[in-house]
Symmetry: C2
Subunit: 214 residues, 2 copies
Amino acid sequence: MPLTSHKTIGRLSLYRRLLMELTAERATNVYSHELASLAGVTAAQVRRDLMAIGYSGSPSRGYEVRELTGAIGRFLDDPTGQNVALVGVGNLGRAILAYFSGRRPNLRIVAAFDRDPYKVNRVIHGCRCYRLADLPEVARELDIHMGIIAVPASEAQDVAEMLSRAGVNGLLNFAPTSLRVGPQVYVEDIDITTSLEKVAYFARETAMKKEAKP
Amino acid sequence: MPLTSHKTIGRLSLYRRLLMELTAERATNVYSHELASLAGVTAAQVRRDLMAIGYSGSPSRGYEVRELTGAIGRFLDDPTGQNVALVGVGNLGRAILAYFSGRRPNLRIVAAFDRDPYKVNRVIHGCRCYRLADLPEVARELDIHMGIIAVPASEAQDVAEMLSRAGVNGLLNFAPTSLRVGPQVYVEDIDITTSLEKVAYFARETAMKKEAKP
DNA sequence: ACTAAGCTGTGAAAGTCGTAACAGCGATGC
DNA sequence: GCATCGCTGTTACGACTTTCACAGCTTAGT
């Protein structure tokens, strides 16, 4: 029933990471404005986001770091963890494998897939690479319900359909294409080229502003 | 004075890429609903976005692909092109270099930087790697005003400050940290971990919905 | 005991963004 | 020539986000 917005979910994930750092620094409690400052948002935003998960702090001590971390975890995570497939073991795919290798115990990349026969059956950053054609079978065997697409744009739609048919409910898509999938699949796009072009545009704009100011 | 929103800029970049594909397919004109379908948005959105750049189509023929591509380019790009520095030549950094190598003529990654002496002075995917300590000097010599941060979170803030002092106006940040920089620097964050956790959450949610339905 | 200070939780205002709807125009067919 | 059709440009509306502002609570100090 908690119709929590996309943006809030993203920030909760961020808060949790910051809270883990705070735990490492031996902090036991934190105020909304401190967490806000670390996250780069306003204090009111933090409080409103935490409303969504129903966790209450104390007016005098703020939030208990350990408890809040747990509350966010119970809200965001599946208790048994979720298995993820990576499709496309090129430069980007390998970087993703390296990045997530053993990082999040609840989000495990348990299989990689590629067309290239040279990569198949090799183990890369602790993850075995399978033939792309075996995806349906392997996905069912390993109980995979999430996919990361790191293939060229031209192949992304085909891969998305394969994953969808294999029972995947969520996709993280690095290919610069808008995927067409059914409503049972949530898609999050990361478009590096577009992001860089946004930076280029706004860098130019702020540079102009600075020039015009004095 | 075009106070164009962030989201619109992102979509313009996307439209341009789609228009280039259309050009490759010998299409000469396109209707808003066609472009919308390719981009995964509504036709009204496309028309509204194009309002921002002041390009007008024809009621009968829609938009001329070639002219519209040019108009978006004049709006988004710097006529002389912009030079970009990449900081951090790890797995992700190399993937980014490979990805952009000679792709966008207007957005050139002209230098890479890393602490690791083993990487310094090597040429990776056509880009020379410099000592991180030489960043200020090289950035000025090569007229660099944009940076891509692909270093671990613990070093990201230091790198951002170095780049900012070297005259950079825009940053694309892959480190999971919110950077503190002055108002003359635009920052765009790409947080892969958070994106994956969002997918995990919504995948779970849609899976539950499907289960509850029948 | 009582005041003062500082934080949380939350209703309401402000702002942002996307969508619907329609007037206007150019082409086409009769 | 005139009506019709389909698409564009634009305005108005609605949905969603963020921020503001304040009541309520809890502790510390006098």
